[in-house]
């Protein structure tokens, strides 16, 4: 029998469910063989938000919910010898490591906590990132990071890390590092890296492969959808890859759930670029083995790219939204009149700032800035008795946005009959810019706590 390792994923984004992660850890602790848990806690803009928190308090800046995931499973994983690998170090892996060590209060002195550093290009003195920005310099960047690959993680595990805290690292690489360590696969064995990266890609959004982002009653039903189990990849020395999930959990792993996630956010399936390999899914096959286990095969790999992706986060844009509703007879006509009034008011008060306007119930999710989809739907004379008018605005001038959002509230007294339920929301939004940089310019390092 060839060697098999298990890699479970307990989080697919910053606000995922810690109770599901704990059940994953409890399940893995009872299994045998080499096991790992990965926690993916960063989205494109999360890192910039973490940098802002770090500026206010240098002891923060790691993922806000990192410890909600780590603390309940920590003793269990230490006891069972399950390394935890996470990008939840975010903008400050060192601070996360210090808090973790402090929280252990002398317990588990043998536990080695590694920080993988080198992704934070803003931290460099002097900063080098400006030379790689194709479209000119950045004004007030709050974060500039490079998506590193699995090298630092594999090295940390080889040196005995029980917890690996990373900042920005490509999501699948969290699993690739574990698999390289567990099975001794070489970083330039492209076929094996294709298998490892596919495992990471299927795991990285956690329950999106076990029945989340999937159910459609009557068409695609999912058992116990309130308690989806976290995914577990079984990776065999010979390159077999099987996706399963936490025992006795809700959800389902089927050909359908795996196929949907296999192509999720993929553009050209024959050239999926990651820092570890160029993955080719063009020949991929998916086979249901029953009992929530699905095998993925015929994965091809090509040498990893010479460039890495960088991502900069920039401040200064405000995103405002305001809503008001109309219900009962003539609701559509009154909501449409409210829209006309708002368009005219905006034109008078702030020519050049065009609001996005939805009539929820008629057109919102599928709508567009120009209201083309809304017009198309309105032309079909929809009959609804509860319609919500929503405006959305982005601008660098905060007071201007506030004034325009107030126009929605002013419809209480100035607008069509029976308008109610105004809500307003305004928040700074970080915009991101991606760029490419030469791989050989980036060297990750380890720090131990």
């Amino acid at each position: 029998m060839t060697k098999t390792i298990l890699v479970g994923c307990g989080a697919g984004f910053a606000n995922d469910r810690p109770d599901a992660a704990l059940r994953l850890a409890q399940d893995l602790a009872q299994r045998s063989g080499q096991r790992y848990i990965m926690l993916e806690l960063l989205a494109e803009r999360t890192l910039a938000e973490a940098q802002l928190r770090k500026r206010l308090d240098p002891e923060t800046g790691y993922s806000a919910r990192l410890f909600d995931f780590l603390e309940p499973m920590l003793d269990l994983c230490i006891e069972a010898g399950i390394p935890i690998i996470t990008n939840g170090g975010a903008a400050n892996p060192r601070a996360a490591a210090q808090r973790l060590r402090h929280g252990l209060a002398g317990r588990s002195p043998e536990l080695k906590i590694a920080c993988v550093l080198g992704d934070d290009l803003l931290e460099e003195t002097p900063p080098r990132y400006e030379r790689w920005l194709a479209s000119g310099p950045l004004e007030h960047p709050v974060s500039v990071n490079v998506y590193t690959g699995a090298d630092g993680i594999a090295q940390a595990l080889a040196e005995g890390a029980g917890i690996v805290l990373c900042g920005r690292v490509a999501d699948p690489s969290l699993a690739v590092g574990a698999i390289r360590h567990g099975l001794g696969w070489a970083a330039d064995d492209w076929q094996k890296m294709a298998v490892a990266t596919t495992a990471g890609h299927l795991l990285e959004c956690c329950t999106q492969v076990t029945g989340g982002y999937f159910a459609h009653p009557g068409m695609k039903d999912i058992p116990d959808p309130a308690n989806l189990g976290c995914p577990i990849a079984e990776v065999h020395q010979d390159g077999r890859l099987i996706i399963g999930k936490t025992r006795n959990s809700g959800g389902r792993v089927s050909e359908q759930t795996v196929k949907e996630q296999l192509l999720y956010e993929v553009h050209d399936p024959r050239r999926y670029l990651t820092p570890d390999v160029v993955l080719d899914l063009g020949q991929a096959r998916v086979q249901d083995l029953g009992e929530d286990r699905v095998e993925i095969s015929s994965l091809l790999g090509h040498p990893r790219p010479d460039t890495l992706k960088g991502l900069a986060g920039v401040r200064g844009l405000w995103f405002g939204e305001a809503e008001i509703s109309y219900a009962g007879p003539g609701a559509v006509a009154r909501a449409a009149l409210a829209r006309e009034i708002l368009l005219q008011r905006f034109d008078q008060l702030a020519p050049g700032i065009q609001p996005w306007i939805d009539l929820s119930g008629i057109a919102s999710l599928f709508n567009d800035q120009g209201g083309r989809y809304l017009q198309k739907q309105l032309a079909q004379a929809p009959s609804l008795e509860d319609v919500r008018v929503r405006i959305g605005l982005t601008h660098t001038d905060r007071p201007q946005i506030e004034a325009l959002l107030a126009e929605v509230e002013s419809l209480y007294t100035n607008g069509p009959a029976g308008g109610g339920g105004v809500r307003r929301h305004l928040a700074e939004t970080v915009t991101t810019r991606s760029f490419l940089l030469p791989r050989d310019e980036i060297h990750t390092t380890l720090e131990w706590y």
Binding site: V266, D268, A284, D358, S360, S364, F366, R372, G392
Partner: protein
């Protein structure tokens, strides 16, 4: 002509990268794959998303998976960075594709 709704024959998942929308689509019955290959041309998908004014539509075929992967450039109104819309990621847009009406497989 006897038109059917794509959602009755296929399932799909949407993803975003910047201002680029991708949608992977799978027939419930693999026997319907050749029919979808024939009907769901880039032009037909571009027409379904006309109000989003994509600058380019790509289609990738994955016969082993009985899948089609559509990539629509500039279709997310600026995407999660800049869109003023409710669904800045475009997560719901798999269902705009599934709302497509097309000639049935038996025709």
């Amino acid at each position: 002509m006897n038109l059917v709704t794509l959602a009755d024959y296929a399932h799909a998942r949407a993803g975003d990268k910047g201002n680029i929308l991708s949608i992977a689509l799978f027939p419930h019955d693999p026997a319907h794959y050749p029919w979808l290959l024939r009907e769901l041309t880039c032009a037909r998908v571009a027409e379904q998303f006309a109000t989003r004014q994509p600058s380019k539509v790509h289609r990738y075929e994955l016969p082993n998976l009985n899948a089609l992967n559509f990539v629509l450039e500039d279709a997310l109104e600026g995407g999660v960075n800049r869109s003023c819309g409710l669904d800045r990621h475009g997560k719901s847009l798999s269902y705009l594709l599934l709302a497509l009406r097309l000639p049935g497989p038996q025709g």
